[in-house]
Symmetry: C2
Subunit: 223 residues, 2 copies
Amino acid sequence: MTNPDEWVERFPGLSRLEGPIKGLLLDRSSIISAPEGMSIFGPGNSPENMLFLLDGTVRVQQVSETGHEIVLYRIHAGQSCVLTTACLLAFEDYSAEGITETPVRAAAVPRAVFDDLIAQSKSFRDFVFAAFSKRITDLFLMIDEVAFQRLDVRLAHKLIELSANQNVIITTHQKLSVELGTAREVISRQLQEFQRRGWIVQSRGRVALIDRPHLEQLADHNA
Amino acid sequence: MTNPDEWVERFPGLSRLEGPIKGLLLDRSSIISAPEGMSIFGPGNSPENMLFLLDGTVRVQQVSETGHEIVLYRIHAGQSCVLTTACLLAFEDYSAEGITETPVRAAAVPRAVFDDLIAQSKSFRDFVFAAFSKRITDLFLMIDEVAFQRLDVRLAHKLIELSANQNVIITTHQKLSVELGTAREVISRQLQEFQRRGWIVQSRGRVALIDRPHLEQLADHNA
DNA sequence: CACCACTTGGTGACAATGTCACCGACGCGC
DNA sequence: GCGCGTCGGTGACATTGTCACCAAGTGGTG
């Protein structure tokens, strides 16, 4: 029941669950996999199950009526898609979409089991509400950024976030513009400016971070 | 237990609750009031209770580190502050604030009772999750608007929303700029343009809608 | 009433960002 | 090689944000 090999133990928020609850979760869930670049939920594709991500990341993005795209957030290993799933169930016609950014493994929990868990376990309730709360406060922050933050600051921030200990980012100007909800030309100009200052070096489909301290200083500017 | 005078009956999402659950909710909650213009939650002011709004509206807005403000959403009679409260409890240091826009009456439910209700009633769970989901999808839409929608379209939309069957809106350019997360000067210019077109008439602290059809047409443009 | 402080709104110059049309360079399959 | 799609660059222009400043209204006070 508390076998340390089970996936539940690797979830920071779930390892503290009561023993029988863990058993229920393990018995009634199944492990699924998906390759990179696959849409796991989106318009006309509501999943039947609540997903708990074991490995990989899922990018959640949105396409507006004007044709513009923007990345809303990412779901990483150890987090759940519960809120996005819940939104899909509640409002069939919303436009967000979840796409695997890497090969992904996840535990799928049927809705009925999910509801049982909520009813029976305070720890599980706390986990779910914490996830909702975190997501909502993150969305508040994102609104603030999109509305008020300068683009050079946001871009520097995003470069550092995407680099994740590497000094080279494999991406295109187009993809970066979707990350920030702006136009490709704007990204091109900003990256040119960063390169002129000697902070980065660009090549086709690639950005190399040369002067991380300066980028971080700009990124922290009023953030 | 199902007395039609009780406040629960006036909540679209709660009137279908099981009888004993209604009783618990009624017995363990208390009715509170607040005057207009009061901050009912915000930084350094976490409420002890979950609130269910009986009368009035609460405006939730945010102040960024740059000093800019933006209105995130409103809570109307028949809705709950649950998610905002949950966020406050989970993340003490977030910057959103709830302000009464009218005199307000609300039912206050202690956290422990709230947790009991979640555990015991599927209907109550559905109510709470629907509220969370609606809020999150609304925030998605807001991000889309802030990032991609033209300001004239957003302003026309906001004027119609704020007018609510009246043809006169009592507000200032400053307040409108906070609604849309932009600058006062920008609002002034747009309203001048609307007035030049004969759609509105401005006076100090007041906007009169003259040509609602044209405003609506602009507001629906790509939305 | 005069005086003062504050709010509200107007204005022009300029910066930052978004939009559009177009171009050349690169990579890939044939 | 050739064609074709992706990637990035560029200039002109529109929209929006920022800043400094001003003028008119509003309300309080002596």
